[in-house]
Amino acid sequence: MIMRILIFIISLLIGGSNSFAQETPKSYPEIYGLRVGGDLVKVSRNFWDKDYKGFEIHADYRYNKSWYIAAEAGFEERFKSDDQLSFTTSGTFLKIGADRNFHQNWLDMNNLIYVGARYGLSLHNQTLHSFRVNTGSGYFNEDLQYPELKSDGLSAHWLELVFGIKAEIVDNLFLGLNVRFNALIAQKQPEGFENLYYPGYGQKYSGNIGAGFGYTVSYLIPMKKKIILKD
């Protein structure tokens, strides 16, 4: 396992595919199949963040040499308490799109350095637990109000740009790292309030742009081998 990662890193540093061309065998297999896995950040967060519940599973299917059809789905519930208000957002999300592998593998190695795009959709609800009217003066010591106002049937649509790597650490088992940029395109807001968190997208900031990252572990179910002949 250490050896494989080392070779992968060395191959990255050398940066090419042809450096050792003399020793290339006549043919090698390209593995095609369905890779399934999950996000380690989201899962681990259930243990260290009491205000968070959630998971994300993902799958990708190799379409040809460079292209993979990819999707993620999951559930997230996030509680957040700020100076002026506290709320919980809860719901499911789905992302579908494609990844393009830009990494030229050595022979039978199967690593990815990819750029991908996704369409993201969340279906969620949001509960306003408490809020304070911003009075500035504070003369009357207005109390927090606790409406427990739940808004159902909320949704959001966004586009995502993904940069990531997936490294095969033992046969068919991959560790991955990815960063994502999100751009919100449409949403259904709660009445008299605002979507402040979207499952699968993350926290809402003042603009319509978001970012995030993930560590993934995934398993490749091989389906067919394509023998590549070296000339």
Partner: protein, 167 residues
């Protein structure tokens, strides 16, 4: 490749901060009633008060204003009426005299409208059907306000005066 890693580190660094938005105040806060102080005899002329104290009925804290021709009065957001006692400190004209304190009560009636502004600012209240009335206290002979005039029925910001007060 180096650029990719640089970008990746940048993004992780930025997203780890989780910097929240900051409320900038101003029109995103619940407004106060802005009162301009005018000379009761020369009604075109703003008049500076040496010292004014304000206490809301049912409350004990006092707000002081010194050397100003403009005061701001907060309203209660969970009722439709707030009454304020406005106390004017009249400094001694001849040395040896005591400072005289004069008092008038002003009642504000209004309807509240509460709405969401933003995550950082939270909620705000605007006031509609606003009306201020000077409560007569002629019997005590302690009155300092000649008259007040309402300039608006809606209070949505602190930017300009809502009441002219003549004294």
């Amino acid at each position: 490749m180096k650029k990719f890693w640089f970008l990746a580190c940048m993004v992780i660094g930025i997203s780890a901060c989780e910097k929240d938005d900051i409320c900038e105040g101003g029109t995103s806060e619940t407004p106060n009633v802005v009162i301009n102080l005018y000379d009761g005899f020369d009604t075109e002329q703003l008049k500076v008060a040496t010292k004014i104290a304000m206490i809301a009925q049912g409350f004990s804290d006092t707000i002081f204003y010194k050397n100003t021709n403009k005061i701001e009065v907060p309203l209660q957001i969970n009722t439709n009426e707030t009454q304020w006692s406005l106390l004017l400190y009249v400094p001694p004209t001849v040395s040896g005299n005591d400072t005289i304190i004069k008092q008038n009560d002003v009642r504000f009636n209004y309807e509240t409208h509460e709405f969401y502004v933003s995550k950082a600012c939270g909620y705000k209240v605007d006031f509609y059907n606003f009306n201020a009335n000077l409560i007569s206290n002629d019997s005590t002979g302690n009155s300092w306000i000649h008259n007040i005039s309402n300039l608006t029925r809606e209070i949505t910001s602190d930017d300009h005066a809502h009441i002219n007060l003549y004294y």
